[in-house]
Every structure is written in structure tokens, then in C-alpha cells.
Symmetry: C2
Subunit: 437 residues, 2 copies
């Protein structure tokens, strides 16, 4: 039933085994663990979680894949300093992503973070500086960058089909009202760090923070289309929040009268609209929309160029002088024609994995980067840039001002060239990394 994969996507088949640890094996960490456990050239040597029952479950999962029992840790610092690992996957609650990645790099390991927001601008800088000082890489596991549709559109953009890129839109639009009001045990995503009132860990962010708390699913694929940090960069950010009315209204209708969440004074605006401007003249609009009714889970991707547009919500594409005059065409026509090599290989391999394959591909990218000792295609500069949108939007909302966007690359964006999705043309890394294998 659980067969270790003997193939690999992207033409890379390392003889060496990449040894990984995973910190945080809740719902998300377990999913990532399963993906890795199925890879023949990966060995999960250590797992870390605060809860013993989760460690039991992780060990059981590895046994299903005929993998040896992992070393078990309840302390991330101890794991990264003791275990013999090449890299660590961090799938904890949001606040630990960057601190744990920093600890991993300081211990001489590569780090991969699951998606989430930064807590502050300062920790984004510290993440970048730690990578530079330790010569260790940090990758953000932004699976949406590896989704089939955005990868095809990236190919279209690079082929000039859309003309000169002018504007993009994206977001995270998903009704999370039940989850944000859930207590431990009622949500499928339980918290590893018990919070006040035993609430789902993200809930307190919505109580106390007001900004785009989940920018990377949206902005990741758009940033890659726009060559952000590699020939382009974000130069300003403006953000505005609506009032916070959705969670209280939902709670009033669905929670028992004595439920502690009914007293929460939510800070987080239901709709956060953020507009980024780019050095190359483009704009990018991001919508954060998780506490009002809506039936779907939309990323709102839209890419506009001088020759055409892709609108994901409509599943449609329009290209000047192609197809029927001034009519939408089904996106699939183009998504298929411009399918990315990664996806052709992936589909040919017949692999099934989470989130429509994007989980597999993003993890495969991390493993390949370690095995080849090359810069990952979503690197520490991307991680800092995309995650910083959260604290920057909080600042912009709090002050009402447009804020300058920091350049985490220290000017290297001027000369760096894109590497994401350019199979076989992986650029030499600008930093001199030690060989880990």
C-alpha cells in the first residue's frame, strides 16, 4: 500500500540519501512527513513535537513506509544540535517558523518552513542574516508556487504570450469562521501549544493583529511571475482593513452563550486589501478574506499583461489576437499547452500527493536543492519578502501610511536572475555554501 518512490521528478536522482528532521507533526507536519516518507532518497531521522502522542503517530507513519524508527524529540533546539541531519522541515504553529529556522541554520542545517506570516520585520531580517552568516539555506515551502496553473502561466509569461506584465492580483479567500472559533479537539488542526481558552492557535492572531496574516499562498506565484528579488522587487506596500464583524456575528449564531470566544474583541479586519508596487512598474493586489461567508477557497490569481490576462476565479484566459475575438477562453486550453516540465514529469510519474501534487513538488525541490547543494528556488530572500507582508501590512494599517518595502537582498536583486522553475538551468548560488552531502 505504501510504496517508496524509486523515480524522481526533475531529472534528479541522487545516490545519496538526504536525511531530514521534522519539527511539528500535527495535521500539516504529518502530511509533509508522509510525502517525504514516500521518497526513496529521503530518510526522516528525527521528529520533534511537544506531544508524545503525535510522536507516536509520526513513528507509526514511518513504519508504514518501512522506514526505521526516528529519533524522538520534544525540544527543537536539542534535535537540531544532536541529530545527524542535512535539513529540517518546520511545520509548527506560525510563531515558531522563523525562530526554529534560525536555530536550524545556526546548528549547521538547511531549513524549510511551512507557510505562514512573520511576527515582525525584525525576525525577517534575522532570518536573512542568519542564512548569510551560517551559509545555510532556508526555503519556504510555498506549495502554491508549484501548482499546475500558476506554473503554466509562468511559462506563458516567460514566453511573452501575455506581453509585458503590468499587474497581478491574488489573495487568500477562505471562510475560516468555524475554525477560528474552534476549541482544541473540535478543529482538525489542533494546536501544539495550548493557548488561552484552548483555542485554535491562529485564533489569537485574529484577536490581536490587524494585517494580512496569510500572504504567501497568494503572493508567492505572483512574485515568481514578476521576478521579485531577481530583476525586480517590491518597493512599497499599502494596506487597509475593513472592520472586524464576521467572527463575532458567526459566534453569536453558533457558539453556546457561555463560550469564552463570544467575549473576544477581534482586532483583525474581515477584508484586508494590500497593494504592492514594484521597481519595474507593476502593481500587485493581495486580498486576505477568511472571516466572512464565502463558499469557495480562492487565491484570486490574476495576471495582466499588454497582450493578455489570466483570471483564475473565472478559470479563463484572454489573449490578444488569439482565439475568438474578445471572448474568454477556458484557461485549460492554455494551461495544457504551456504545461510546465515539472508537471509533465510529475504526471508521467503517476505520483499522487497532497494539494494536487504541489506538496510533493515543493518538498522534492527542497530535497533536490540539498542533494545538489544548490540554492533552493524559493530561498531565504523570498521567504523574508513574502512573510514580511504580514507585519508590513500591520504597520500600514496602523498608521494609514504607505510603507517602504525593505530590500532583503541588499541590492542583489539588480543583478540576480530568476531560477524558479527553470529546470536544468539552476543558477549558481551567490553565497558560497559548504557541501552538505
Amino acid at each position: 500500500m505504501f510504496i517508496r518512490l524509486t523515480h524522481s521528478v526533475n531529472g534528479i536522482m541522487s545516490d545519496a540519501t538526504v536525511t531530514l528532521g521534522i519539527t511539528g507533526v500535527g495535521h500539516r507536519g504529518t502530511s509533509l512527513l508522509r510525502n517525504c516518507a514516500a521518497m526513496e532518497d529521503v530518510r526522516i531521522r528525527a521528529v520533534c513535537d511537544l506531544q508524545e502522542r503525535r510522536l507516536d503517530a509520526a513513528q507509526h507513519t514511518l513504519e508504514e513506509f518501512q522506514q526505521p524508527a526516528p529519533d524522538r524529540y520534544t525540544d527543537h533546539s536539542q534535535m537540531v544540535s544532536e541529530a545527524d541531519l542535512d535539513g529540517v522541515i518546520i511545520a509548527t504553529s506560525w510563531r515558531q517558523h522563523i525562530p526554529f529556522a534560525i536555530e536550524a541554520m545556526e546548528a549547521g542545517l538547511w531549513a524549510a518552513m511551512d507557510v505562514g506570516p512573520a511576527s515582525s520585520l525584525e525576525e525577517c531580517w534575522e532570518l536573512v542574516q542568519t542564512s548569510q552568516e551560517t551559509s545555510q539555506q532556508c526555503m519556504l515551502l510555498e506549495n502554491c508556487c508549484f501548482r499546475r496553473e500558476p506554473l503554466s502561466v509562468l511559462n506563458m509569461a516567460r514566453d511573452g504570450v501575455l506581453g509585458d506584465l503590468v499587474h497581478t492580483e491574488c489573495g487568500y479567500c477562505h471562510d475560516l469562521r468555524p475554525r477560528l472559533n474552534a476549541t482544541i479537539g473540535t478543529s482538525r488542526e489542533e494546536t501544539s501549544i495550548p493557548m488561552k481558552n484552548d483555542r485554535y492557535y491562529r485564533s489569537i492572531h485574529h484577536e490581536k493583529r490587524n494585517g494580512d496574516l496569510y500572504p504567501t499562498h497568494g503572493v508567492g506565484p505572483m512574485a515568481k511571475c514578476l521576478d521579485i528579488n531577481q530583476g525586480n522587487r517590491f518597493v512599497s506596500l499599502s494596506s487597509h482593513a475593513s472592520k472586524a464583524a464576521g467572527l463575532r456575528d458567526w459566534g453569536d449564531r453558533h457558539l453556546p452563550d457561555d463560550h469564552p470566544n463570544r467575549d473576544i474583541d477581534w482586532s483583525h479586519g474581515d477584508i484586508i486589501t494590500t497593494v504592492l508596487t514594484c521597481a519595474n512598474g507593476q502593481t500587485c493586489t493581495i486580498t486576505h478574506d477568511v472571516s466572512l461567508p464565502r463558499p469557495d477557497n480562492s487565491k484570486r490569481y490574476c495576471v495582466r499583461g499588454t497582450r493578455g490576462m489570466w483570471q483564475d476565479e473565472r478559470d479563463s484566459i484572454y489573449i490578444d489576437d488569439r482565439g475568438p475575438d474578445h471572448e474568454w477562453e477556458p484557461a485549460e486550453t492554455y494551461i495544457d499547452e504551456y504545461e510546465h516540465e515539472l508537471w509533465r514529469e510529475y504526471r508521467n510519474a503517476g505520483i499522487e500527493a497532497g494539494h494536487g501534487g504541489s506538496d510533493y513538488l515543493v518538498l522534492r525541490s527542497f530535497v533536490r536543492s540539498i542533494a545538489q547543494d544548490v540554492r533552493p528556488p524559493i530561498d531565504v530572500y523570498d521567504a523574508a519578502t513574502w512573510m514580511a507582508i504580514a507585519p508590513l501590512s500591520e504597520d500600514a494599517i496602523a498608521t494609514g501610511d504607505t510603507v517602504a518595502f525593505p530590500d532583503f537582498t541588499d541590492g542583489n536583486w539588480l543583478t540576480d536572475e530568476p531560477i524558479f522553475g527553470l529546470t536544468g538551468e539552476v543558477a549558481e548560488d551567490r553565497l558560497s555554501f559548504s557541501t552538505l552531502l
Copy 2:
């Protein structure tokens, strides 16, 4: 073939005849003229245009409707001071809308302006002050406020079906590249004021200005949902422009090598994204999008509340605890159920008119307001507020800053109550207007 209408919508059938003049009888003015000519209780007594052939055409149109020949003018000031009129409809090019409305009010007439942007914030203030000083009303002919779908959604919002309103989106998204590059005679909308290179008159706005040049089609219906100027108001505006690449790219592909437009250095960003915040905590996002390829003409209406949402681009509505669980429903289900009384009457009357009936309804509203001597439902404060978005967005884009939104009502928004669309409950006007009939 051309039958004068003996019925009226909205239950109003005045015995008196409302006498109107029309300034600007190009494409748009002619359409408005035809609508008015078909109304039994309206007499078009004067028409004004710089071009004699247009005056000929207007006179011919009135003859078709068995109306007497109008007085003909080539000078607006002369018409409003000489002709015996109750009100004037201004359908000139954009820059004359406010100055001509001011002249009309100063001459003791009511003014109705076709849609367009203000040239400056100062002229918006002057418009408001002139109305107050002269006790004459000024209405913006924002036909989109009278479209069937937004009127139904307004009913839904007022009935609480959408819960507490939190956020709206709108825009003007229409590929105008051929028209903005057109020379006189190649565009259906010819200019009455010849511009440099005989260009379509809007073209120079795109050459020299950078802001949302056409905000009212989008923001009008959303402002009415949000009770702007009547219990709520816009408090801040933020606006960002993408680069200007679409018109040049189109010109390079479609204009002769020696065409003067090929040398234009366009200032106007292809996508302008504006975010308004409201005193009552809502946000409103406006997109201006006219110089990149797109196949449709979309207003991007979206209304979000704590109980449901309407998304016009998807033609869909979702309401908590109604319909199938977490699935979109066809908007028509609700648009029909909550159809506005104006539309029921309109459809029952079997009238056919431009822009799906909205032209008829907005003109009928102006005529009714004159006949009854009541405040029009889209008044001078609405006109100033919505038209001011153009210069305010130019300021915001030029400085990068969020700008304060002026309160044209001078605090009256705190106590004023909505009148738009509340048939039979027309509020007493706050100003003491003289009876014109």
C-alpha cells in the same frame, strides 16, 4: 414608430411639463435626448452643441418624436441664461461637466451631469457651494445605480440578508485601447472640442493624468449600499497605479508608423487600484482598467456582509444558511426575489431604453425630482464625492500617501438619512429649494 410614453414609472405622473435643455448632443447626448423625447411630460426646449450638424441631428430626432423644434445654441452660457428651462442635461466631454452645471445653477436651473471624473477637488467644492448658494439641485446621471442587479442587492442589504456590510468592490474594466487611440471620425464618440492631433477627447486625460478617471460607474451603486453621505462617509483614499504599457503596445501593433499617437508618452497607469475606507468601518476597492486586453466590460461589483456576498463577475450569490451548503447560487435567484419596485414598475410598463433601462430610470428620476421639487436621489453631494475620486486618486498616486477624503456635506452625513431607491419615502430636502414648476 416613436410613441410618446403616456405612463410613468415610480407612480409619479405630473400634469406639468418639465422643460429641459441638453448641452452636448454627440453620441451620449443623443441617447439621453431620445430617452427624454419619449417622455410625455418632458419638453426639450433647447439644445446646445458646438457643431451645427449635431444640432441638426438633435432637431431631427425631436421631430421624429413629434416634438417642436428646439431653440438651438452653440454657447451653453447663453442657453442657460436665455432659454425658458427647468433644468439642463450636460452630456459634453468630461471637463465641461462641472463648469456647465455650475453655470446652469447660477442661471437658476437644475443641472444633471452625465458621468465622468472631476478635473480638480476645487471644482467639486465649487459645485457643492453653488448648489447651496443658488438653492438649485444638481444630479449625477449615474445610470449604473439604476441597474437591476445593484438595485436588488441594495434591497437585500437593506433587508439584512447580507448581514452587516463590511466590504465592497467595484471598478470600470473595459478595453478602450482602440478608442483611446482613435482619431476623430474613427471613433463612434466624436469630440465636440477638437484636440491636438484630432484625438478622441478622453485620450489626453490618459496622456497627462494618472488616477482613476472613471470612478462613478463602479462606486455609485456601492456608495448607495454603504449609505455614503447619509449615515456614513468615505474617510480616506489610497490609490496606486501600475505602469502605463498597454496603449503604447497596442499602438505599436495597430497604428501606422507615422501616426502621431505612437509618440505619446502616456502617463496613465493601466491598472489603478483605489481603496476607500468608511466612517462605519467598511472598505471599498475600485479598479480602473481600460488599457489592457480583456474581453468583457465589467464593473467588478462585489458586496460582502457578515451573512453573505454578491459577486457580479461570477453572477453568483452566497448566503449563510440559505441554499445549498457552501455552494454558490445563481445570482438571478436572489436578484429576482429582491427585485426593486422601480424595476417591477419599469418592466411592467414594457419600456425599452438604453443600457438595459438604467438610462431611462436615471433620467426619469431627474425629471421626477424637478416635477416634485424634491432632492434628487443622487444629489450634488454624491456627485462631488464620487467625481472627486479622480483628483484624489491622482494626488494619492503622485505622493504615495493615503489622503483624507473631504466631507462635502459639512457634517450633514451624520444625521441625513438615505433616500435613494426608497420609493414613496422621499425625504424632505435639507435645503430650502424654490419651487420651479
